[in-house]
């Protein structure tokens, strides 16, 4: 019996020739990532548990990105960043990206890709559930809590139960009215919020091959929304080119064997999928955008690790060009690099940033911002009974701030079209 790509990577990390789903094994971790919400408690646990002997297992393998609660006057939130800053200074950490400096990157999952931490064939663990995003680069990545992270910080090791894999194959050319977000929302409607619980989600097929790395990260990012331990896409030329630009040439490329065993295989024809929305209050509450044209919105939000990448803004600009938004529409670039790219990249000869300004959008600095609500002064945070259409990944009660608010998750095309109309709108109207 062959192995899946996930099993091969985990076998390598466990220094074994073969692993079987269900086995509990200790893995060697290649990269540990943390941020301002979970970093301080992780550091506190590490100090308490290792005491005087506390030693970071490998400073070069630790990446710390303040990104969650950044542009706020909340003293306790700012204190969290101070703790990270002091920790980085005390231990002379090479991979700390401080707020208020040139090194500040924005949202950790996008920064990991930009800074070259997403190396194929490796194991990357982060104190954030969306750490599964990195799997787009043919590596095993998953989220953990503070205790597990503190344990890794001191030992470089984590126990893991080898997951079964589910295979998702998308065939057919990607229609111009769809984005990767529609594909993952479609999957969520099919299998539900615990449909992949504890399993690895593997994506492949003609449609996936056509997606660039940022779009692929939208798919793997939301693996956690189905309960998945990880999402993964094998390395191809698009991956190799992205890494080449970062001067990364040495890595292990793994592929699933033809006789690998899957828990289940799901095939889709992308041509048959339509612009898709997740209604409140669950990412699997699927409906087609065209069936929600009665839903009036009060806010539109384009941002986050899922929906604030350059590709997301390219999609949105295509729709917003020459139009005006009817509701407050927030543009929150995931990373500072994305922010700069908005000025460089153009559509019809006009920079994306200018298209958004002309359309009447509100531009914000890079951070997680209102995706998870955040402190009360967070830009774009929902209030009272707001009805928000958003490119983010979760619409649980209260997720974007107000418990009374209703959040509809959609692609950047659908969000942009809806912002112009003031109600949920199928983007095909503008294409």
């Amino acid at each position: 019996m062959g192995m899946t790509i996930t099993e091969k990577i985990l076998a390598k990390a466990a220094k074994k020739s073969k692993v079987t789903p269900g086995e509990k094994l200790w893995l060697n971790v290649d990269v540990l990532m943390t941020h301002d919400v979970c970093g301080p408690p992780t550091i506190a646990i590490w100090k308490k548990e290792f005491g005087e002997k506390a030693k970071i297992w490998d400073k070069n393998k630790l990446a710390i990105f303040p990104d969650h609660y950044i542009f706020t006057r909340d003293a306790k939130a700012n204190r969290n960043v101070d703790i990270l800053r002091n920790f980085a200074k005390e231990h002379q950490l090479p991979n700390y990206y401080d707020v208020g400096t040139e090194r500040y990157k924005g949202v950790c999952h996008i920064a990991l890709a930009e800074e070259g931490f997403n190396v194929p064939g490796t194991v990357l663990i982060g104190t954030d559930s969306h750490t599964c995003s990195s799997g787009a680069f043919g590596l095993f990545s998953t989220g953990v809590g503070n205790t597990d992270a503190a344990f890794i910080l001191g030992t470089g090791k984590i126990w893991e139960r080898i997951p079964e894999s589910m295979l998702f194959i998308f065939d057919g050319e990607m229609p111009n009215y769809l984005t990767a977000k529609d594909l993952i929302l479609h999957i969520l409607g099919e299998i539900g919020v615990d449909g992949a619980n504890y399993r690895a989600m593997e994506f492949r097929g003609e449609t996936i091959e056509s997606l660039d790395m940022l779009e692929r990260m939208t798919l793997t990012n939301m693996a956690i929304e189905t309960g998945g331990i990880s999402g993964i896409i094998a390395v191809d030329d698009k991956t190799r080119n992205y890494l080449k630009n970062l001067n990364i040439f040495e890595y292990d490329e793994f592929n699933s064997d033809l006789d690998a065993k899957y828990f289940s295989i799901h095939k889709f024809n992308s041509q048959k999928i339509e612009p898709t929305v997740a209604k409140p209050h669950s990412p699997d509450n699927r409906e087609l955008a065209k069936n929600l044209s009665e839903i009036k919105i009060t806010k539109a939000y384009i941002g986050s690790c899922t929906g604030g990448k350059l590709t997301d803004f390219q999609y949105a600009a295509k729709i917003l060009f020459g139009n005006k938004v009817k509701v407050p529409t927030y543009i929150v670039p995931a990373s500072t690099k994305t922010d700069k790219d908005l000025e460089i990249e153009t559509y019809n000869g006009v920079s994306l940033k200018k298209i958004f300004i002309n359309a009447g959008c509100i531009l914000a600095e890079s951070s997680c911002a209102a995706c998870l609500g955040g402190p009360s002064d967070t830009i774009g945070r929902s209030v009272d009974g707001d009805v928000v259409v958003s490119t983010t990944n979760r619409n649980f009660p209260g997720r974007m701030g107000s418990k009374k608010a209703e959040v509809y998750l959609a692609s950047p095309l659908t969000v942009a079209a809806s912002a112009i109309e003031g109600k949920i709108t199928d983007p095909r109207k503008f294409l």
Partner: protein, 185 residues
């Protein structure tokens, strides 16, 4: 490890996510400072919509206004408990509020790991839909030797799933204790 856990049940539905267990705005309290830590108890389960809080009737606050701990110490829930973010503050806040154990049909992976590895509480699994059979406020007992849950109001007994390969970590009290016990660290 305590072989009997007895307490009042608080009953919830399916897919209770970590934003409902501890809303993100409260994640700023210092977990290593006892004065701040108690706020995690105060706000535990404060994100659950009130009509779904304390089933079957709902409208029951898990932690009373002005209090820091709950009158309930065993959570009974449906499937996919603890889905969503990786915040360890979720099992921590339940522990600070006084919760000793959860019995659910299933858990999201990170919440399950965090509960076990952090030694916060024991996440039991049960095939029966207990959240349809137990009422908020019922006194229940978990007997670890027999791996059963007893509803003392009705005297009904329910089989719990074996803790399996995490038993050793649960028994040790968390991943660090387990690693020290096995001379790993």
């Amino acid at each position: 490890m305590n072989k009997n856990i007895i307490g009042k049940a608080f009953v919830l539905g399916n897919n209770i996510d970590t934003d409902q267990i501890i809303p993100a705005e409260h994640l700023v309290y210092d977990t290593s400072n006892p004065e701040e830590l108690k706020y995690y108890g105060k706000y535990a389960l404060s994100g659950v919509p009130l009509n779904e809080s304390g089933l079957p009737d709902g409208d029951i606050k898990f932690v009373e206004e002005g209090e820091y701990v709950s009158n309930f110490n065993i959570i009974i829930a449906g499937s996919n408990f603890g889905c969503g973010s990786s915040r360890e503050h979720a099992p921590l806040s339940l522990q600070v509020a006084g919760v000793k154990a959860i019995v659910a049909n299933s858990y999201a992976r990170i919440f399950y790991r965090n509960s076990v590895d952090g030694g916060f509480l024991i996440p039991f699994e049960c095939k029966d839909k207990l959240n349809h059979k137990i009422r908020t406020g019922d006194e229940v007992e978990i007997n670890l030797d027999r791996n059963i849950l007893i509803n003392k109001r009705t005297s009904e007994e329910f089989q719990l799933e074996s803790l399996g390969d995490i038993y050793d970590i649960v028994e040790a009290g968390g991943i660090f204790e387990y690693a020290r016990k096995t001379k790993m660290i």
